[in-house]
Symmetry: C2
Subunit: 217 residues, 2 copies
DNA sequence: TAGATTGTTAATCGATTAACAATC
DNA sequence: TAGATTGTTAATCGATTAACAATC
């Protein structure tokens, strides 16, 4: 048994590999080289080989990687080979969009409970799920063995919701609110910050596009 | 006049600073130190000082940064001090959510046109905007001087939409589809990849949380 | 066998952090 | 003046890329 510290950058690339490998598999392609992957995903082939090599020897010299075998391996590494229950708080436009978007299903991640602070929404249905009041959160998280919470509430309420999730026992949070959340170590927080993506995009609009070159007086 | 290459990591932090500074400003706080910022945003104070110093001397030794002055400076750096027009393609749940979410307004970014490949949707209203057919895209982008395109279509159509945006003349794309897009240099693509965020979150769920430590046999 | 491609080491590159003189 | 905090250099740390022996 070996013990590694795998860097976050590596882990964040694995879902990108997985997604493209799934496409290949569906197209009936059985073998792929790091060269191919690199071209399609805009990554250095050496980086891809190195990333995968952290977890084992998945390829064959002179041949490449077997697509379905690699899919299986990455799914195992990311722990997508067993079901994981997810709860969502905040049934605004974005929250409802995510509930309907059940892409996660094939990756064994499933939204199984939805909450909203506005109790007048309790009982309404979103994609076969009944909206529940916040006071039910702790008990539902425990009953349904929910390990991940998605936050789609306005920024000022996000930290409060995160605290409730953490108290209830979730181990991971996916935050869509435009605010930096605090959590004790032991709880992992990923941030989907599309306002920041849009604002940083603005910076590049008038610049000469030679690898992040900028001019200032 | 000095010429820099500012790294992408630096640019991506500027909107985070800006957002928190806006909060401070609204709370009536006039001065902030890199120490304060670092604590609230989970960043190293030295990094914050260094980031800002790429663009000028915005602080005062022994005092800190004037909140409103720094806001003004960052807004200028990111080019948020002049209006920027945005178009969106794909009026599914996510697209509609983004149209309604006009947080961008105060940052001078405004969605001014919405398109959908499904022509039966043409003419419907989303938040005061009329959905238009794809064949109008090129002319509308030119007429309204649109420089950024948002893509919220299913993955298989995303590259095609990107190509149309690029042909029409946009210089930046914010892609929400779970696929890596290709573009010639000169067009900047940012990817909001929440499925990847969710899948990589799964990896950390059963791991001891000591800075990305993992164990494999 | 000849060509292709992995796994891995070494070299490079870039980003973060520590430290401190300058100065408010 | 004493305390605080910046701007900036140097040191550290980590991630990417190049190169190549191993081998299919």
């Amino acid at each position: 048994m070996k013990s590694f510290k795998i860097s976050e950058a590596v882990i964040r690339r694995l879902p990108i590999y997985l997604r493209f490998l799934n496409d290949l598999s569906q197209s009936g392609i059985q073998t792929v080289s790091s060269q191919d992957l690199g071209e399609k995903l805009d990554l250095n082939p050496a980086q891809i080989r190195k990333d995968l090599a952290y977890f084992g020897e998945f390829g064959r010299k002179g041949v490449g990687y077997n697509v379905d075998y690699l899919i299986e391996k990455i799914r195992h590494i990311l722990k997508l080979d067993k079901p994981m229950n997810v709860a969502l708080v905040g049934t605004g436009n974005l929250g409802r969009a995510l509930c309907n978007y059940n892409m996660y299903l094939k990756d064994n991640m499933k939204i199984v409970a939805v909450f909203d602070a506005d109790e007048s929404k309790s009982g309404t249905l979103i994609n076969h799920l009944t909206v529940q009041p916040m006071r039910e959160l702790t008990s539902v998280v425990k009953e349904l063995d929910i390990s991940v919470g998605i936050i789609t509430v306005p920024a000022p309420e996000a930290q409060n919701v995160a605290d409730q999730f953490i108290t209830a026992g979730v181990r991971g949070i996916l935050n869509f609110a435009p605010v930096v959340l605090k959590a004790h170590s032991g709880v992992r927080i990923h941030h989907v910050d599309f306002t920041a993506e849009l604002l940083s995009l603005a910076y590049y609009m008038d610049h000469i596009q030679e690898k992040s070159e900028g001019v200032f007086e």
